[in-house]
Amino acid sequence: MMSRRDLLVAVAVLLLVLAGFNAAIARYGTGAVARQLLRRIDGARDVRYVATGNSLMAAGFDERAFEEAAGLPRGTALNAALGSSSPVEHLALFDRASHRLAPRAGLLYGFFDFQLSDPPIARTADFVDNRSASYYLDPDRALREYELSAHDRVEFELFRRVPMMVERGRVWAHVEVLRRELRDWGLPPRAVNRFGDLADMARLETATPLEFAEKCRRFAALGEPLSPPVSEMLRVAERSGATAVMVEMPMSSRHRERFYRLPEWPRYRGELERRLAADGAVVISAADWIDDARFSDNIHLDAAGAREFSEKLAARLGGAGLRPSASR
């Protein structure tokens, strides 16, 4: 049996070990994708267009191709999109970028399916990948915008102060990569892209057309389909003098045939556009702009697809009188 003194020594050493591990994790966390993006945003100046959204925009917006097609100087288009993130993180990213904008700039917000309507319901267990950025991007705003239970609010407040908890998803990703390597040992290589296994990306879509149609009906019936962080993003755009352009991201023909051909979809989209227009936002539908061959999986564009999409987007903005001149 350990004496009380020995127990205290052991606990003190344990706390030292954990403190050291936390310091190492905090240092390791500086390389997280979201933190790299923050450094890019903070280093930007006179941004004419800031693109944000989730992985669809992160993979789909080619800054250079957009600038060339729009006749903009280099470094004036910024891709501030973050894979595996939600509108709450997008709001925080855009708010940060809004301090780097040139006068009368533009927000290009990429969305698909119900991204603009889904309520921001979350649990702390959800903040494990890039969404852990909510712990440090703007935690007070995240607590306001996310619908969290009282228990999850307390956890959020505690976790945001402990690097081991903030960066746990990044550490776990290494174990997950190892697990996948062991799983695939001796098997033919699986198709992957920068985000992971292609087969897994199907899980990001709604499971069935029936479920998709039901969601369309439910949101359209609400008559107020905008998610609160999206509404707040439009207010931030207005305050910073930026034009908000909501871009329905390119989708594969399979996705469009399966979901966007449903009669409920145009009704939902009509209601959504009406609400966005009331808030001063412009909607561009790019869902059918890109050929299937230029997708790296069922929803993400490959590099050639990103170039084509960005060039077409620049042309469309110019055609709609929304493109700022290079001399401004």
Partner: protein, 64 residues
């Protein structure tokens, strides 16, 4: 050393490290009896649990 003796010795160490036995096995290095060792050992166990606790998460993206 016979296999049986080796395995008995291993189990004695495992009993000691897991807390099932308070007494260290015969011939145990003194380092393993010091309180500071227990602090490091518990830390190593907690960090191991932490590293593998993510298996209940549904990873789709590996981009972070």
């Amino acid at each position: 050393m016979e296999l049986r003796e080796r395995s008995q010795r291993l189990f004695r160490y495992l009993d000691y490290l897991s807390g099932a036995s308070d007494a260290p096995p015969p011939g145990c290095p003194r380092l393993l009896t010091r309180p500071a060792f227990w602090g490091v050992w518990w830390g190593a166990l907690l960090i191991t649990v932490y590293l593998f606790a993510g298996q209940s998460s549904k990873f789709i993206y590996i981009d972070f």
